[in-house]
Symmetry: C2
Subunit: 456 residues, 2 copies
């Protein structure tokens, strides 16, 4: 009987284990999980803090019992410390510090990513006990929750204004905490163009968050008066103080285990895998936030996303049992809700496309989400990036209010990007229309038509 071992209790590891059990119920599957919380939705953590999700247990995609019912074995609170590739054996350490070994026939590594510290002094040394937090695991979540519940902070500094930073700004604000958000770049949500990021910034400011962009944080320090964050803004040193500091400045691939086993690192310092999720090490597959991603428009890149981890894990699980599934590729589709606004993107932005050798151009339009005569019509801001040579659609970005179907409108672009459609082909699409929910030319097509007019 084949013994498949998956390392990692998050999207990639669990997806691999589930797929293996689905394809072959006779296969023996063990999942090695570093903590006691397998299959938790890390993307949902901000909604625990906003109070939308209660209790924290409901953040589990599947319960422990659900997982065991599939026939997989879970080794919780167990850290994989090394892989003996030749011996097809894993060394693990349990919570008591005791080491043991697990033999495998096939291994899927889904160790994910770790919080980045972006060179900010003090971040690695200060802990939740000091009032300095990250939120990357359920353990981080409990520590932050304890802080909020027991110490009732009135003010918080969030370092970073990306997806999680903005979601946490919303969550803290909803609890009555005064938030100061510090962002290195010129605008919040640096994954979209600043023209659209400005709309997101206006939304968080409208809800009472103080936002400082162009602010490079240098260090975090614990003082008698609270936590001090020292930064540089417009060439001048500035200091902000608060009761609590949350650092959400991105992630870095957690590659130590595979690196020590001899795997090769590539884009973003992630472990190189091919489209079948093979690492090049015999019988060792890898998936998720620790590995490179095949991007339809870019080739191999590093783009850690939960959706990708689910897909890659599933493929790794299938191929570990001898399958030949291929990861079809990401187009970098992302969406975030920030208070009452939704911001989404798919594909490349102009500078990314340029760096990849395309000849891109971008246009922006504003179009109503549905016929203006029907109550509640709202403007959508849409930016289209296309290749002026091949006319291929390269990317789309969109900001609209909650309720404007912005999230699923970006999926039209995601599908078009996946299928390799031109900008003009998007204008030709037969999209749905009823006056309360759309227009005869949907907003996405108003946008692509504008691009075509501007770049004939």
């Amino acid at each position: 009987m084949t013994h498949l071992v998956a390392i990692g209790g998050s999207d990639a590891g669990i997806s691999a284990a589930l797929r293996a059990r689905e394809l072959d119920p006779t296969v023996d599957v063990t999942v090695v999980v570093a903590d006691a919380y397998p299959n938790y939705s890390i993307c949902g953590i901000p909604y625990f803090f906003s109070g939308d999700v209660k209790p924290w247990q409901s953040l589990a995609h599947r319960t422990h019992a659900d997982l065991e019912a599939t026939g997989m074995r879970l080794r919780l609170d167990t850290l994989a410390t090394s892989i003996d590739v030749g011996g097809q054996r894993l060394t693990v350490r349990d919570i008591s510090g005791a080491e043991s070994q697990i033999s495998y026939d096939e291994l899927v590594v889904g160790t994910g990513a770790l919080p980045a510290y972006a060179g900010i002094a003090g971040l690695e040394q200060l802990t939740p006990a000091d009032g300095v937090h990250v939120i990357h695991s359920m353990g981080d979540t409990f520590a932050l929750d304890e802080h909020l519940t027991e110490r009732d902070p009135k003010t918080a500094i969030i370092i970073g204004a990306g997806y999680v930073g903005l979601e946490m700004a919303e969550g803290f604000t909803g609890r009555g905490i005064q938030v100061t958000q510090l962002q290195r770049g010129p605008e919040v949500l640096s994954t979209i163009d600043p023209e659209l990021g400005a709309l997101v910034r206006a939304e968080v400011v409208r809800h009472g968050v103080t936002v400082h962009t162009g602010t490079t944080v240098r260090s975090v320090e614990k003082t008698a008066a609270g936590l001090a964050v020292h930064a540089e803004r417009d060439g001048r040193a500035v200091t902000h103080t608060a009761d609590l500091v949350l650092a959400v400045v991105g992630v870095r691939p957690n590659t130590a285990l595979l690196e020590a086993a001899g795997a090769r690192l590539g884009a973003g310092g992630a472990v190189v895998v091919d489209e079948r999720m093979r690492t090049g090490l015999p019988h060792v597959f890898a998936a998720g936030d620790g590995v490179t991603t095949h991007h339809v428009l870019l080739g191999s890149t590093y783009l850690p996303l939960g959706t990708t981890a689910h897909k890659q894990g599933r493929i790794a699980g299938e191929n570990a049992l001898g399958g030949s599934a291929q990861f079809a590729g990401s187009v970098g589709t992302q969406v975030v809700k920030v208070f009452d606004l939704v911001a989404a993107r798919s594909g490349l932005r102009e500078h990314e496309a340029l760096a990849a050798g395309y000849r891109p151009a971008t246009t922006e339009i504003i179009a109503d989400d549905h016929k203006r005569y029907f109550p509640g019509a709202q403007p959508l801001s849409i930016r289209i990036t296309g290749d002026t040579r091949s006319r291929l659609l390269l990317g789309a970005q969109m900001v609209g209010r909650l309720g404007t179907e912005t999230a699923k409108r970006i999926d039209t672009f995601a599908t078009a990007l996946f299928a390799g459609l031109t900008v003009e082909q998007v204008s030709d699409l037969d999209l749905s229309y009823t006056p309360p929910l759309g227009s005869p030319w949907d907003a996405v097509q108003v946008a692509t038509q504008a691009w075509s007019r501007t770049h004939p």
Copy 2:
């Protein structure tokens, strides 16, 4: 100077005129409009009756002044009565009955469709003055509005439970009118599978509409006691009475003008056009609800939709000026809001696919619109039809509550159908995810994965 004449003031005719003026501001454009209401949104009429749209003038996509500002000339209240193809001349009759002629270099015919009467005796003879209505034009709209305002009907029978019939049931119900809806087929909204139609029926019934399916209306009669609708149900004769009757049993292409000019009729009795919207008559293009539609999966068919009329009109306008644009094809995408429910489809249903020579199979699933742990998650019912031989996606149907992004989720399928993706490729798509608005595997992918599991 080229003189382009468009016949028809609705989507096709106006789109042709707009496109021509956009491409060449020197071209002379005349639009012959049978009534005084060019460029009105016929799809919006039900929302005038529901009270969502006020005043009726806001139903205009563009005002008269907007249209004239583009440089086109409008000949309102003018009916085109014949085309002299050889002489490139049109005979028209104005509201006084006087005939005149209009010469053209290029002609675009967009005469649209007429209400169907489905062989129901009395429908053609009885008029709004008798309390019997259709709603296909602004004239019909005013007549029905006058009836509602001046005679305050308490009860209405709607014959037909398609898109407009259901929208009008909602509109009447909102005004306090007790609606009885009679539908020939076994379920309401016969454009989707009855399994999903049943959900729509439950929604209208929940709002107080009395629905009788399996009811074939034979005649409408004016009696002393009101209007009597005689029908057959389960082999027995039944009669329903009400203060008002609205017949919305579909449309038939309005082809008289082009037929008399020598054009060929095809699918659904519509005028045959090629993908460039040419009728085969020299210098005569046609577009919209009166002509055949190129369907990506079916070839030439009859499928009158406003979205298609806009696209075809635009192409006719471009080609009338010597262009060579092609209509890329419909995939039959449709959506309707019925009270708080949204029903949508794209592509083919199983029996349609079978008739077209595919080897179709269909599966149905229910999946949440977003992560269940975030408040407000709602079930989406999704049916997928795929070809078991080629694995091509053939069609998708979906019903969900308002706010579940159902309308724009169907667009993912519409884009996939347009691009010729397989069912498995839809599962591979990189769709957007954030817990309040989706899932790591979007509901559309839960549906396609289920299809693949059922038909391996």
